[in-house]
């Protein structure tokens, strides 16, 4: 497995500048060295100014030199190893019944580890947000206990400083967006030059520098989400709870945010645990260490292994031929075929997905799209 610096070098060599610079920024932050962090910020700005993030393939010599220089400094400095804080939150048999309405969240136990991302999926109105709000201390529980293991007999105020909940509908801010970031940093005791540095870092890290002086009304909902994430991260929460963070983001931005979360949870600057809800199953499953499926207030499944053990292998695909073509291709296989009007789903208790796919392709069927959903919660919808 390549080291982080080798990984960054590889990104840059392969012209993946956006990813490479973002990782460079992350790594510089992990060194906790203000000079290196500032250099990384300036380098990112130079890349942006040169249009490298907009597809310019030509890397100017001075930028390349800057990258190499910073990388060599980072090698010398060596970032701090991320702390393994273990379990951050232990929720034991928590449940919630609303006074009005019939819905209730059934007893559910859950651990959130440091560096871990937990995805919560499920149809609308099945209890995802209720679960998140209970974990964040926003909503009272009927039963169960939540332990915040890093805190010693905390009151609710301390818990809300430790665990940050970002609702789907982000509360409106006022004034310049940059001021909000400065304010958030100052709230947790980041003052003076560090305040300036970290705000500049977050702006650059999330590609927000050019929007820093705008107000809420002047940016799109996608950028509002990005600003909110930057604002929250400045508060250095130990547990980050996100309700539908992908809802307002375009496809690229969704991918970027999820990748960012994956890296940031494991940073040594502020290692944390993340739990998020989303309807983007595949995107969430790609980065989540654990996925919960909530249905009617019950946690129906956790992790894909459990699904595979119970339901076998599954392949989702879209083809240019008829159903009969698949049936012909899979003659002799033990399988079940379903069609939802858009995609076919083939499930088999014995044949792994590569075996099924190979048979289909070998029969000459034109496959437009396929996905191994053996361990995906999508099968349960």
């Amino acid at each position: 497995m390549p080291s982080p610096l080798e990984e960054i070098k590889s990104y840059l060599d392969n012209h993946d500048y956006v990813l490479g610079i973002r990782r460079l920024l992350d790594y510089s932050l992990d060194t906790n060295d203000p000079i290196l962090i500032r250099e990384a910020i300036n380098l990112s700005k130079a890349f942006r100014a040169a249009g490298m993030f907009e597809g310019n393939p030509y890397l100017a010599p001075e930028l390349e030199a800057g990258c190499n220089d910073l990388l060599s400094k980072l090698v010398e400095k060596e970032a701090a190893k991320p702390m393994h804080l273990g379990v951050l939150v232990q929720a034991n048999a928590i449940s919630k019944r609303y006074a009005k309405g019939n819905f209730s969240l059934k007893p559910l136990s859950l651990d959130i580890h440091c560096g871990q991302i937990i995805g919560v999926v499920g149809e609308n109105g099945n209890g995802k947000t209720t679960l998140l709000r209970c974990l964040a201390g926003e909503l009272s529980m009927d039963q169960g206990v939540i332990q915040y293991t890093l805190l010693n007999k905390p009151d609710n105020y301390t818990i809300k400083n430790h665990v940050v909940f970002v609702p789907q509908r982000i509360p409106r801010w006022f004034g310049q967006l940059k001021d909000n970031l400065h304010f958030s940093a100052a709230l947790v005791g980041i003052h003076g030059e560090w305040n300036d540095l970290l705000v500049d870092f977050m702006l650059e890290r999330f590609g927000l520098t050019q929007y820093a002086h705008l107000s809420w009304n002047q940016i799109s909902s996608g950028y509002r989400t990005r600003f909110e994430i930057a604002r929250i991260l400045l508060k250095r929460p130990k547990v980050l709870i996100l309700d539908e963070p992908l809802a307002n983001l375009d496809i690229n931005a969704q991918q970027t945010l999820l990748t960012d979360l994956k890296f940031l949870t494991k940073s040594s600057y502020n290692p944390m645990g993340v739990i998020l809800t989303s309807q983007q199953l595949h995107e969430v499953e790609k980065i989540a260490d654990n996925v919960l499926l909530i249905r009617d207030g019950n946690c129906v499944y956790r992790t894909g292994d459990q699904i595979q053990a119970q339901l076998g292998f599954a392949l989702e695909l879209e083809i240019g031929d008829s159903r009969e073509a698949i049936v012909f291709a899979l003659q002799g296989f033990q399988y079940q075929l379903t069609y939802n009007g858009g995609n076919y789903t083939i499930t088999s208790p014995v044949h792994p997905v590569p075996e099924l796919l190979k048979a289909i392709i070998n029969s000459g069927i034109y496959v437009r799209y396929y996905r191994d959903i053996t361990t995906s919660t999508k099968r349960l919808f």
């Binding site: 006074a99 709000r133 209970c134 201390g137 926003e138 909503l139 009272s140 529980m141 009151d155 609710n156 105020y157 818990i159 809300k160 400083n161 801010w173 006022f174 004034g175 310049q176 001021d179 400065h182 304010f183 958030s184 940093a185 100052a186 709230l187 947790v188 005791g189 003052h191 003076g192 305040n195 300036d196 002086h213």
Partner: protein, 499 residues
């Protein structure tokens, strides 16, 4: 950091520094409020200086005060809008010891400063008047004009002296008929006189304030000298300054009527007009009263247009003596209580949810209505209302403190907490009011003796001191509780999960 209008570099730098280093102070925006208030105060002072003002004319400061008050209200509303934007407490930021105290005190001071601008126009007006007229000069000229008028009209306006012997009696007084005798000329006294006059101490208090001259024979008996009114020009405020007292009718009588006859009328008239010209209100043509009365006093007043001079004097002295101790005490209380109350409202607003805050306001209004109805129904006197205030506070405080540890954030706890906080600084004051409302000495003196002497004055002084102390004590209690009990309660309540 956005560029603010009329904000110099140091304000921008300060704003930036506070944002990054003292977020709790920054969110109050007190630095901006104080800066812009001072800027406004300077601008307003210059404007008031530049606008011409004739101190002989009626003062228009009332219009200024009204318009400034409206502006201050608008400014406070704008400030509140800014205060909604950022909130350290509600953002679950790190709080330090003294933060709450600092925040409340900042609100209090900034509001007082804003309200203070309302008084700039009258202050400038007084200052401009002081440049042109001094109290000693006014009284001197007034005396001179009164003496000149008395000399000018000595022949046509026979002044009469009456001498009365007054006996002070108890609260029951004496029958009206006992004082109903008629005056007769007494050669040996050289004055008119009648039988003894009986008065209670309360009646005597008012009599003494109006009389020219009295001689006390003992604690219950005095002689009163009265002279026909010779103070054509007069103003009660003229004697507000202890050092300069205008001449009384009795003194004018002694100076003018006991001397020889007047010869040079024209010279005296010229001199009178010369002096009076300085004090004539150019916009006052109101000698209506004197023109339509035929008695000597009215005829003389009309002839010499005394109304114009009195009006001018009155306008000057109104500007001059609006800052008497009594007025300043009232002004201080107005500013203090508005500042304290609005500061408290802002404090509560900043520590409460919006819904709970407005429900607290509603609960307060409803409670006031219910108390009023109960008071009317059960015929409460002031102690009934005061007792209800204490009962309410005790209820709010006990309810809030006993429910704040509940697992959920209850809106009822929030309302009780908010109302308890708002009631706190008034409690010692209400306690003192209650004490004096039930004090026998006070009641006995007012209802039985109705008089005014040193012991009563001492009693009043002590009472006033107790009121002052209670206000101060109430404020201190509030500050202490804000930083201790209320801080803890708000923290517990606000962060609790919702139902």
């Amino acid at each position: 950091m956005p560029k603010r209008p009329l904000a110099p570099r140091f304000i921008t730098k300060l704003d930036d520094y506070l944002l990054k280093n003292r977020p709790d102070t920054w969110t109050t925006r007190v630095h901006l409020v104080i800066y812009y208030t001072l800027l406004y105060a300077i601008g307003l002072s210059i404007l008031c200086f530049v606008i011409p003002d004739n101190p002989l004319r009626t003062s228009f400061t009332g219009y200024w005060i009204t318009s400034q008050s409206v502006l201050v209200i608008v400014a406070i509303i704008l400030w509140v809008v800014y205060l909604v934007r950022f909130n350290t407490f509600k953002s679950y930021g790190i709080t330090y010891g003294g933060d709450r105290l600092k925040t409340y005190f900042s609100f209090f001071l900034a509001i007082i400063l804003m309200i203070g601008t309302v008084f700039i126009p009258p202050v400038v007006e007084t200052y401009k008047t002081m440049i042109h007229y001094s109290p000693a000069q006014i009284v001197e000229d007034m005396d001179e004009m009164n003496i000149l008028l008395a000399r000018l009209t000595k022949e046509e306006y026979p002044a009469e002296v009456t001498v009365d012997t007054i006996y002070v009696v108890g609260a029951g007084g004496v029958p009206y008929a006992a004082n109903n005798g008629s005056y007769t000329w007494n050669d040996s006294l050289g004055a008119y006189t009648k039988g003894p006059v009986y008065m209670t101490r309360e009646e005597l208090k008012w009599t003494l304030s109006e009389q020219d001259s009295v001689v006390w024979l003992n604690t219950d008996k005095l002689i009163r000298f009265q002279v026909t009114g010779l103070t054509f020009l007069s103003h009660y405020d003229a004697d507000a300054d202890e050092d300069v007292k205008p001449l009384t009718s009795f003194e004018i009588y002694n100076r003018v009527y006991k001397s020889g006859s007047v010869n040079d009328i024209q010279m005296l008239e010229r001199k009178f007009y010369e002096v009076s010209q300085k004090y004539r209100d150019p916009h006052n043509e109101d000698d209506y009263y004197w023109n339509y009365n035929t008695d000597s006093y009215s005829v003389i007043s009309s002839r010499y247009k005394v109304g114009q001079v009195n009006s001018g004097l009155s306008n000057i002295l109104e500007r001059y003596y609006r800052w008497e101790e009594e007025e300043i005490v009232i002004t201080y209380h107005v500013i203090y209580y508005i500042g304290m109350f609005l500061g408290l409202c802002l404090f509560v607003f900043r520590h409460s949810t919006r819904r709970t805050f407005f429900l607290s306001v509603l609960a307060g209004i409803i409670l006031a209505i219910i108390t009023g109805i109960l008071g009317a129904f059960f015929e409460w006197r002031e102690d009934g209302f005061l007792a209800s205030a204490f009962v309410y506070f005790a209820f709010f405080f006990v309810f809030a403190i006993s429910t704040v540890n509940w697992k959920v954030r209850s809106v009822f706890t929030g309302i009780a907490l908010n109302l308890a906080v708002v009631c706190t600084p008034f409690l010692p004051f209400l306690g003192v009011v209650w004490y004096y409302a039930n004090d026998d000495y006070y009641a006995d003196y007012i209802y039985d003796y109705g008089g005014y002497d040193q012991s009563y004055q001492d009693y009043r002084d002590t009472m006033n001191m107790h009121y002052w102390l209670s206000e101060l004590f109430g404020f201190l209690i509030l500050l202490v509780l804000i930083e201790t009990v209320y801080k803890w309660m708000y923290r517990k309540w606000f962060a609790a999960p919702e139902e």
